[in-house]
């Protein structure tokens, strides 16, 4: 009989994985080793001590889960009305849609535009609005949105970073700091939701061309199939023909996840059709 056997027996009993009475040999071993007895008493005390108030998550977590589930259910078609596209691939698209910038952030940006408009008109009451004035205002709004976006993108919570992505979508992504922050997060963010939202924002940007080389590298080196598929979709649909050719050549020489390989084939057949 070893001490390890006694501990294993005790843990299995307490966890409900077995219900074997203590053997005589074990009882004798414990009686001869008061230290083992003390150790068993501690383990029992730890196992049987029920935490009084288990920490509860916020209601936001539940809401987020059900939003995601509702979107997924709404978009996945039943078997009898399936189209040619595979539902699994459609589902990926739904997730991206679910992660799109939220209306609250869009409303906030509109509020910023309003406040800026008010302050400029206060300083320039007597003069009629001019084209340079409007351009300046637009530039101010864009630069302010970029500033807010960068600040939100550096927050520790994924939901705050998602808001940051929403602010980014209010700009034309011309700010190099914002672009660099987005690319950095796209490469390293721990939340898949944030990464997919960034891809979604880039899809709507008119300044994709200057980021395509970085995006190709990310797409090729990405280990998360969801993100890799969305990056490929972005580049193969919105990228230049040169980018599309480069990406496909690089992907050909790689061993891809089955879902990603199916996805690339799907996109290629759609674009050929």
């Amino acid at each position: 009989m070893k001490q390890q056997d006694v501990i294993d027996w005790k843990v299995a009993q307490l966890s409900g994985h077995q219900n074997v009475p203590m053997s005589t040999e074990m009882a004798e071993f414990i009686a001869q080793n008061p230290m083992v007895e003390k150790e068993l008493a501690f383990i029992e005390s730890f196992w049987k001590h029920e935490p009084e108030n288990l920490p509860q998550p916020s209601s936001q977590m539940r809401q987020n889960f059900y939003s995601m589930l509702d979107e997924a259910k709404a978009q996945i078609q039943p078997d009898d009305v399936k189209t040619e596209a595979k539902p699994r691939l459609k589902f990926i698209g739904i997730l991206s849609g679910w992660l799109a910038p939220n209306p609250v952030a869009q409303f906030s940006s509109l509020a910023i535009v309003f406040v800026l408009g008010m302050s400029i008109s206060r300083f320039d009451v007597d003069s009629a609005p001019t084209q340079p004035g409007l351009a300046k205002l637009e530039q101010e709004v864009s630069s302010l949105s970029s500033l807010v976006a960068i600040s939100m993108l550096q927050k520790p919570s994924a939901s705050e970073r998602l808001t940051g992505v929403a602010y980014s979508s209010q700009t034309d992504l011309s700010d190099p700091n914002l672009s660099a922050t987005l690319i950095g997060l796209l490469e390293n963010d721990k939340s898949t939701a944030v990464r997919l939202a960034i891809i979604n924002t880039m899809r709507e940007s008119s300044r994709l061309a200057d980021k395509e080389q970085s995006l190709i590298e990310l797409a090729v080196n990405e280990s998360n199939p969801l993100v890799q598929m969305e990056l490929c979709r972005l580049l193969l649909i919105n990228g230049t023909s040169e980018t599309q050719r480069t990406l496909l050549e690089q992907l050909k020489s790689m061993t891809l996840h089955d879902d990603v390989a199916d996805f690339i084939r799907e996109i290629q057949s759609t674009s050929r059709a």
């Binding site: 001490q3 299995a12 150790e39």
Partner: protein
């Protein structure tokens, strides 16, 4: 109560409603698993969300050879590892200030109970993260040694030995915090 493995097969076959049942049954346990293994509240909520998103995304990979809970915690563990790898700022110890310690406590037995709970939680938070995780999975989530060994990619004897080491460290930390002499 419907078997969770059967529910997961239903999800796999397109009955996504069933995922809500699995979420309701498991989200609190998952949230506390992430808290107890060293993450703050915001990160733990994000990790629960991320875990269920992966359950949906990778639902076709559930084969049913392991039970649902150990498959779920396997995904949770990988999600956590991914989180640490990406943030490169893993918190190795629970932030005691952020840790919930209950609400209304009065003197006497309740206070003693609360103090004991607090000591257990703090002792647990102070030990090696890998050993802590093994204890948490066994004690609070009722996973057996075989499942935990599989998740940690080690054999059963190694797992038992790590568990023993973890419990010894836990007891030492507890006694130190309680002001009791160690043997």
């Amino acid at each position: 109560m419907t078997d969770e493995r059967a529910l997961m097969f239903d999800v796999q076959n397109g009955q996504l409603d069933k995922l809500a049942i699995l979420f309701e049954r498991n989200h609190l346990q998952l949230f506390n698993y992430f808290l107890r293994t060293g993450n703050n509240r915001a990160a733990s909520e994000d990790l629960v969300q991320e875990t269920f998103m992966k359950v949906l995304a990778y639902r076709s990979s559930f084969s049913g050879t392991a039970n649902f809970k150990s498959w779920l915690f396997g995904i949770a563990r990988n999600t956590k590892a991914d989180y640490y790898r990406k943030s490169k700022q893993a918190t190795t110890h629970l932030d005691i200030d952020e840790h919930d310690v209950g609400s209304e406590h009065t003197l006497g037995e309740e206070m003693e109970q609360w103090q004991k709970q607090d000591l257990f939680e703090r002792a647990l938070a102070s030990i090696n993260p890998e050993l802590r995780e093994i204890i948490v999975l066994s004690r609070f989530h009722q996973l057996n040694y075989e499942d935990i060994a599989q998740m940690h990619d080690c054999n059963l004897n190694t797992m038992k030995s790590r568990m023993r080491k973890g419990l010894t460290m836990l007891e030492q930390a507890y006694r130190k915090l309680a002001g009791e002499p160690n043997q």
